[in-house]
Point group: C2
C-alpha cells in the first residue's frame, strides 16, 4: 500500500452545494494542501453516489491525492478508490478487509480505546477519533476528551487522525497528542475563501505535527 | 451459476415487523413455497443491514433458497449471498458485474424495453418488471401495462419476473405474458396467515406458468 499523508484530511459534505460548485470547491482544496480526501454522501442514492465518486476520483487522480469512500465498500470498489472509511454503524472492519483484500486502505472511527484496538486488530489502516469539538456537520452525542484522544494514540500502532469541529482557531488544543493529522469538513467547505483557508490550515497542521514530535 | 427458480420470489419489507417476528415470517414463507428471496432494507444503516443479512442467510441456506440483496453489493459480498437486485437508482449492472465477477446473480429492475435490453447487454441474469398494480410498499410513479410487460418478455432472453401489488386475486391478469415468476412483498408479508397464503400463491403461480406455456 502506498504511504499516506494524513496531515490534512478533507471529509466532504455536499449537502449545501450545487453539483458544479461542489466539484470546484473540492478542486481548490486539492490544489491548496489537502493530503487525503473522503467522499461522504449519507443521503444520496447508490447511483448518485457512484456518479459523484467518479467525478471526484478524476480530481483526486489529477492532484495525486488518495480518495477514500465513506461507508460504501461497493462504491469504493466500483471507482477503484484507495479505500473506505467505516463508522461504528457501517460494515465492521473485519468484513470489509475480507471483501476488499489486503491492499485497500481501511479507516475506522474510534471513540474509545476498545474500539481503536478492535479496529486495529481487524486490519484498519488508520483511525478517525472525535468529535473533538462541537460540529454542525454531524449529530454528535458526545465530545471526545483530549485525554481519550491521547490514550487512543498511545494504545495503537496505526495512525490516528483527530476529527470534529477542528479549525485554525482550536487546532493548537491538539498540542501534545500523537496524531498524524486532522480531518475537517466545514473548516474548509464552509469557508468563504477555500484557497486561503486550506493553505493556512495546511501550514498550521505541519507546525503542530513538528511541535508534537519535538514534545515527545 | 446454479439454476434459479423464479416462480415465487419474495421481496422483504421489515419495516412493520419486530426483528424476531420478521425472521419468523421469512422462515414460514421459505417453508411453504417461496423459491427466491430478496432482502430489501432501504432505511437501515450498513451495520444493521449486514446483521439482518447474516440472520436471513442462515434461513435461506437452511431451506436451500437463493438469497439476493437489494442495492448493496458490499452487503451481498459480505454474507456471500447469491447475488444482488439493482434498481434504476442503484449501481448500474455493468459496474456491478465488474465488482461481483461472472458467478453472482444480478437482477435489474426494468420498466421499459430500453432498460431491459441495457440490463441484459451488461450482464443481468434476470429482470424485475412493474409495478403491475398499485402497491403500498413503494412509491410508484407509473403502473406498467400488460403490453409493456409482454414486450419486455419478448425483447430479452433472460427471465422476467413481474412485480408490484401482485396477489392471488389479480395473478391471472398476467396470463399470456412470458414471465418466469412473480415477485411479491405484501401479498405474503402482510398476510394474516403466511403459511396458507404462500402455499396458495405457490400453487397458483405454477398453474399460471403452465397455462402460459400452453398458450405459446
Amino acid at each position: 500500500m502506498k504511504s499516506i499523508d494524513y496531515s490534512l484530511y478533507l471529509v466532504t459534505d455536499s449537502s449545501s452545494y450545487e453539483e458544479q460548485e461542489f466539484l470546484s470547491a473540492i478542486e481548490i482544496a486539492l490544489q491548496n494542501g489537502v493530503t487525503l480526501l473522503q467522499l461522504r454522501e449519507k443521503e444520496a442514492t447508490s447511483r448518485a453516489f457512484l456518479k459523484k465518486a467518479i467525478q471526484v476520483k478524476k480530481l483526486t487522480d489529477q492532484y495525486h491525492v488518495p480518495l477514500v469512500i465513506n461507508d460504501r465498500i461497493d462504491i469504493a470498489l466500483a471507482v477503484n478508490a484507495d479505500g473506505v472509511h467505516l463508522g461504528q454503524n457501517d460494515i465492521p472492519v473485519k468484513a470489509a478487509r475480507r471483501i476488499m483484500g489486503p491492499n485497500k486502505l481501511i479507516g475506522a472511527s474510534a471513540k474509545t480505546v476498545e474500539q481503536a484496538l478492535e479496529a486495529e486488530k481487524h486490519g484498519a489502516n488508520y483511525l478517525g477519533t472525535g468529535a473533538m469539538n462541537p460540529t454542525t456537520t454531524k449529530v454528535i452525542t458526545q465530545i471526545t476528551s483530549f485525554s481519550t484522544l491521547t490514550e487512543i494514540c498511545n494504545a495503537v500502532k496505526i495512525p490516528v487522525v483527530a476529527i470534529g469541529g477542528i479549525s485554525k482557531e482550536n487546532l493548537w488544543n491538539l498540542k501534545g497528542a500523537n496524531i498524524k493529522g486532522i480531518a475537517v469538513v466545514s473548516a474548509i467547505l464552509s469557508s468563504s475563501n477555500i484557497q486561503v483557508t486550506t493553505q493556512s490550515l495546511a501550514k498550521e497542521i505541519q507546525e503542530l505535527l513538528i511541535e508534537n514530535q519535538n514534545i515527545r
